[in-house]
Assembly symmetry: C2
Homo-oligomer: 322 residues x 2
Amino acid sequence: MKTTAEYSADIETAIRSLDLPDGKLSSLYAPVAYGLSAGGKRIRPVLVLMGADAFGNNCTEALLPAVGIETFHNFTLLHDDVMDKSDMRRGRPTVHKKYDENTAILSGDTMLTLATKYVADVEDGKLRKVIDTFNEMALRVYEGQRLDMDFESSDNISIPEYLEMIEGKTGALLGASAKIGAIIGNASDKDAALMYEYGVMTGLAFQIQDDWLDTFGDATTFGKPIGGDILNAKKTYLYVAALAEGGQTAEALRTAFNIPAGEMRIKTVTRLYEKLGMKEKCSKAVGHYSAQALKALNSTTLGEEEKEAFRKLAEKLIGRKK
Amino acid sequence: MKTTAEYSADIETAIRSLDLPDGKLSSLYAPVAYGLSAGGKRIRPVLVLMGADAFGNNCTEALLPAVGIETFHNFTLLHDDVMDKSDMRRGRPTVHKKYDENTAILSGDTMLTLATKYVADVEDGKLRKVIDTFNEMALRVYEGQRLDMDFESSDNISIPEYLEMIEGKTGALLGASAKIGAIIGNASDKDAALMYEYGVMTGLAFQIQDDWLDTFGDATTFGKPIGGDILNAKKTYLYVAALAEGGQTAEALRTAFNIPAGEMRIKTVTRLYEKLGMKEKCSKAVGHYSAQALKALNSTTLGEEEKEAFRKLAEKLIGRKK
């Protein structure tokens, strides 16, 4: 197997080699290329390549499907940015800012179909499984995004509801990436299902860790100002776990969130989380889902070298910027 | 073969039987059901059923893929309405009016994936052809929509450019509907390609006829006020064909379109079109593409009864409200 940096470089090359129409159709496809060129760690397509290589030593067949997964991911970012009215992403104007909102909607739709087309570029015998996995994943992602939107206007979200939301919004795509890679590598159905589990659980651990970092992390390594979730009254794991304590605790938390958005609210809520032991509870949840991911991985028929590669990837993803 | 009314009724039943998730996910799926329940002639899914029946006597297998085609069509309407800021469709509030814009974007995305999923519900041996036809069609539709948007700010569009736009926006989906039906009916590749041609050419004739009706039709049967395209300075076949005359004619047309939007502009432009013989030229184009559609149809290996059914459908679609 190659290193993740090598797989990631393969993805960058494949993205740059995409032969998107230009000329008078560049008003449709240039925003697609712009969305795809934003870079990032390319974790999801790397998972596809790793899965195909680990099970079948054929990451070449997996290259375009991997680009499809990244195209899907960038499509969701593009439409999410429209819905959230976010102006910047990764230090650049978002598509609807650089172009306009209608362009972001239509070029986003184009990315979803291109993603489906690229993902379908597998041997005929694997097409059914790959397409079904992809479509089901996409529905889970929309459902997760919808729940996240609905949570904004709700102040009574349970831990299971929160987990369902992030399983859709973050877990499903990582799970489907690992699974589609495994399918392309001719893995057994059982191994493919275990790789899905590995990806989903890694996704849950990653998202909960992200919540932790937003409150307790180090701004210089986290890359964003600390306390953003508290300022935006986001329903994070810390928040829903604290709410689940019920009674006076929940009341105190709701009161603290009524403090005008600013340093005082961040300090008060952070102190409350600490007092309630949420810092540890959150870390424990990260550990739990990381362990679940490794358990699934260890149950596959993969060799030790391949398992170690997936372990390292999960570690890199979850343990980042702690 | 059944009548188009019977096929259409089958589609309505299948749409009502879709088992979309409810409960807390109804905020995602209720707008999907709302979009799908708008009714209409269901021409596109009827074409799928007819194709499957005509070639293979198996419209049962084609039922969910046909619903997929209708779901795709309604997805495009939903996002188009957001982009055009249209508040009403078929006498009801549009999805972004009844719910909100973010809901229309996200539930629209969901419809596109559901459409792909439904269309993929065919025998494994047909999946590659069906999925490829569907994805290529979807890209043509976005390209057509994009050209249409770009035409708004251009006053120098050639007839070929206009035809390319409506081939994407209107023709491709009718073509893919007929072709996917044929594939499900186990038609030969040649017959499937001819059915695509039949659908596309029918679509061109339909769209040009629609342009004609908007200026020269009868408001009571057309269902919309006459002259809407002129008021909105839409780039119709009449407009681009008149422009193509060049010189003073083009100048006169551009001047007429500068008259403030109102009855005077409608009357002046309509008189200009008549004087230039555009009424006849447009009718002739409709006749030309109708003939192309029938030529493709007649070249298939279908029996006379089946050919007659498709002839009648094209006639019904193009000859409507004349």
